[in-house]
């Protein structure tokens, strides 16, 4: 496990924890690498929310369970975090939030936030007072911090901004001679990376993939993508409409693709469940669509604001009847962008539904990635100009019949949810049924020609192979890179369809361990059924939290 300092800010919903986090993040990133991951309760006010800031001298994006510094700003916050402390952890708080009998057992440092905020002007200055204090604790550059305040509050009146600067200084002065449990070296001449959360990355990928139509119904944790694209709608010519329900959303997206747009529906498991009939519609009409499925723990409402990888089976088997589909599962910010971009090209090329499978953890976590740029390749259009004798479901050229759109050419584009003839008219001819079914399902092997390759990390000459898809990437990467060198991690970016070539990775391993953020090992089942490979062990977690690096280390140690 990499050397990191884990700082957790914990308070009530609505207290402005996010403001404090963003101020800190901006200043920390100038001198360190930073990974942040929030967790929150499904409520607008009260309860307990927290955000974890992992500070390091090298890039890091694995969640930590252990807390080095706990900064408490509200009631109930300490109790929920207590089990994550160790004997070296610092706890900084007003006394009232820490039970008296606990204080002596802790490395407790009293910080009179309310009093100081009052001194600075009012409780409104609490965040900047706290910012000052933590900045001093971490030894952050004061000038950089002042700049962060000025840019964050640039829309406020000048005297208010200055009062915030003074509030920062007040907090800063109060922090004296505190030894941090872990010292992290500052990074000299740190290159400017790209900092974003998964929601932004998916949205940017969609823009780079040519999305120009979005219809969705808000549902955590998928709503970040809807909001981001809405905010960029005018600038990028994206028509964003909030649908009356998820059923409408996907049908609208399919209509938009039919008419020549590139549509996206962003949703979570419950919404996706409502979209399943339309998914099947995309399948039989061969109208492309892209769905962002942001997983959260179910069943039903489950844990609305938490994380899980429990919907692979839903993505894989959702929808009635048999039809091909593509599932992509980005594990880090850059892939969230790149694979989301690719999704639109794949959908257009193969005329199938493409599902981008993410989860709350990656969408809300913010990490720094190496600079990257999109290329234009995904904007390649597969739409043709139709001739008078155009047949939408032409069987003469293999599984992919060239796709026309209404208004472009002389032919008519007839799309039907019933089994149809080459022209697109309803038929009950059994031979046509077989031909159309074979044509649709025949796409699966073609899709594999554009398989989004899996990536092997760690030792090429491994004994143990850890297999993960999507957002277990961060912990598994760190685990194999920091471990004893006998392990490797196979990161699966496209869980479906799977190519036979992946088997070689499994055959080489003495032991195969599949790691999944769910209770039943859905990916392991898929690997077994699709590739016929053997799985020796599974590491599963399903309490609503992501895997921590400590858990992976402990579980893998138990297996050896």
């Amino acid at each position: 496990m990499k050397k990191t300092l884990t700082l957790v800010l914990s308070g009530q919903a609505g207290q402005g924890l996010m403001t404090l986090e963003s101020l800190l993040a901006e200043a920390i990133r100038k001198q360190y690498y930073l990974f942040t991951s929030p967790e929150f309760m499904s409520r607008v006010r009260g309860g307990n929310n927290s955000v974890e800031l992992v500070i390091a001298s090298e890039p890091v994006d694995a969640w930590r369970k252990g807390i080095d510094v706990l900064f408490v700003v509200g009631p109930e916050s300490f109790e929920r975090m207590e089990s994550r402390l160790n004997e070296n952890s610092l706890v900084i708080s007003e006394s009232k939030y820490i039970p008296e009998k606990e204080r002596s057992k802790l490395n407790f440092i009293e910080f009179k936030l309310s009093e100081l905020a009052k001194e600075a002007g009012s409780q409104l200055y609490g965040n900047t007072v706290a910012f000052g204090y933590i900045a001093a604790l971490l030894g952050l550059d004061k000038k950089v911090c002042h700049k962060a305040i000025r840019s964050r509050f640039s829309k406020l009146k000048e005297d208010i901004v200055e009062k915030n600067i003074s509030a920062f200084d007040l907090g800063h002065e109060k922090c004296r001679d505190i030894q941090l449990p872990v010292e992290i070296e500052k990074v000299k001449d740190k290159p400017a990376g790209k900092v974003m959360n998964g929601s932004t990355a998916v949205s940017l990928g969609a823009l780079a993939g040519g999305v120009n139509y979005v219809s969705s119904y808000p549902m955590s944790p998928s709503t970040g993508v809807l909001m981001y694209l809405a905010s960029k709608g005018k600038q990028f010519d994206v028509l964003v409409e909030q649908a009356e329900d998820e059923i409408a959303a996907l049908n609208m997206v399919i209509g938009a693709w039919y008419a020549g747009a590139r549509g996206l529906a962003t949703t979570s498991g419950g919404g996706f469940a409502l979209m399943c009939e339309a998914l099947s519609l995309s399948g039989i009409t061969e109208t492309p669509c892209v769905i962002h499925l942001a997983q959260r723990p179910g069943p039903a409402t489950g844990l609305p604001t938490r994380t899980e990888q429990g919907d692979i089976n839903l993505a894989l088997y959702g929808g009635h009847g048999e039809f091909p589909r593509i599932i992509l599962a980005p594990g880090h910010i850059k892939d969230a962008a790149i694979l989301s971009q690719k999704a639109f090209w794949l959908a257009d090329k193969y005329q199938v539904p493409v599902i981008i499978l993410t989860d709350q953890y990656i969408l809300d976590s913010m990490s720094e990635t190496e600079p990257f740029e999109f290329d234009e390749s995904a904007l390649e259009s597969f739409v043709i100009e139709t001739k008078e004798d155009y047949l939408r479901y032409d069987l003469s050229n293999g599984p992919i019949s060239p796709r026309g759109i209404p208004g472009y050419g002389k032919g008519f584009v007839k799309a039907d949810s019933d089994e149809h003839t080459e022209e697109g008219l309803i038929t009950e001819d059994f031979d046509v049924r077989i031909a159309m079914n074979d044509k649709r399902l025949g796409k699966l092997s073609l899709i594999l020609e554009d398989y989004q390759d899996a990536e092997l990390l760690g030792n090429d000459d491994y004994e143990r192979l850890f297999v993960g898809f999507g957002t277990t990437y961060g912990v598994l990467k760190e685990f194999v890179e920091e471990g004893d060198g006998r392990d490797a991690f196979l990161y699966i970016r496209q869980p479906y369809p799977l190519p036979e070539s992946l088997k070689a990775y499994f055959n080489k391993a003495r032991e195969v361990i599949v790691v999944e953020n769910n209770a039943t090992g859905q990916m392991a089942s898929l690997l077994k059924s699709e590739l016929g490979v053997g799985i020796d062990h599974q590491i599963l977690k399903y309490n609503g939290e992501p895997f921590s690096i400590e858990e992976i280390e402990k579980e893998s140690g138990r297996l050896s």
Binding site: K234, I247, A259, G407, A415
Partner: protein, 281 residues
């Protein structure tokens, strides 16, 4: 001119004597009279006997899922407003299964025409009660008679701010053709509820029943009078036929949606600049 007609024999799956034949004739005539190009027309529909209409009209169509003709229509129109878009289906499809889309697309006011064949019964599934079935109608499921209040599409549309609300009858070709023409020409969402006998499954609301229980609105009806339209929509002793309400003062969904406020170019014709995306990373 034979636009929208096939240049070959087609097999039509409706029962002999079905009101759908009259509606098909009127729709084709309306489109031809208005000189609308089939290459720029899209019909969307859901499932049901009425929803098969696009199959029998030679143009673009998307025959989607039960109840989902409207979501297809609104998105097709919004990404390419240069198309003429007509959503068509029956009372079960549009008012039952697709009820939520009916409500919310009236609120959106997309520039589409919505034709609903209303025969007060389910046909394709063989004779169950529909949202518009009259109380007491005995069916294969409502064996002792329908007990629920019939859905009133015209009153619902008016209450939600629809700017074109009409009712016609499949048995009156001229009235129906003219009503459909007015609906297509109307800017914004236009509803035409079309009374139609079901010769196979509704023995009560038959051709004669519609003749006896409807009347045509006269020239003196003020189409811009919302209160009058609402009163007319609530009449159940004798159902008025004609355009109950029409005003032209409301911008359509496509006009109001932010992406079109400064630029009328259909979004499908706009080019994405990858450099602009890279500039915001």
């Amino acid at each position: 001119m034979n636009n929208f007609e096939f240049n070959r024999e087609i097999d039509i799956a409706w029962c002999p004597g079905c009101g759908n034949f009259g509606i098909r004739k009127a729709l084709i005539k309306a489109l031809q009279d208005l000189g609308i190009e089939p290459e720029k027309t899209v019909l969307t529909s859901g499932i049901g006997q009425a929803a098969k209409m696009p199959q029998y009209i030679d143009s673009h169509f998307f025959n989607g899922l039960h109840g989902r003709g409207l979501p297809l229509a609104v998105s097709i129109k919004s990404v390419n407003p240069e198309l003429t878009v007509i959503a068509e289906g029956g009372d079960g499809d549009m008012y039952g299964e697709g009820g939520n889309h009916f409500i919310h697309n009236i609120r959106r006011n997309p520039d589409i025409t919505h034709l609903v064949h209303n025969n007060m019964i389910y046909g394709l599934t063989k004779g169950q009660g529909s949202p518009t079935s009259i109380q007491g109608l005995k069916t294969t499921v409502q064996v002792d008679g329908v007990i629920n209040e019939p859905f009133n599409p015209l009153a619902v549309a008016l209450s939600l701010g629809a700017t074109f609300v009409a009712r016609s009858f499949s048995g009156d070709m001229e009235h129906l053709t003219e009503t459909i023409k007015a609906a297509i020409m109307h800017k914004g969402y236009a509803l035409v509820d079309i009374f139609q006998p079901c010769v196979s499954f509704n023995k009560v609301n038959n051709f004669q029943w519609y003749r006896n229980n409807t009347y045509k609105l006269g020239e003196d009806h003020d189409k811009a009078d919302l209160s009058a339209a609402i009163s007319l929509s609530l009449k159940t002793d004798e159902y008025p036929l004609g355009i109950l309400y029409q005003v032209d003062d409301k911008p359509s969904f496509e006009e109001r949606t932010p992406v079109y406020t400064d630029d009328k170019t259909p979004v499908i014709h706009r080019k994405r600049e990858i450099a602009l995306v890279n500039s915001i990373i």
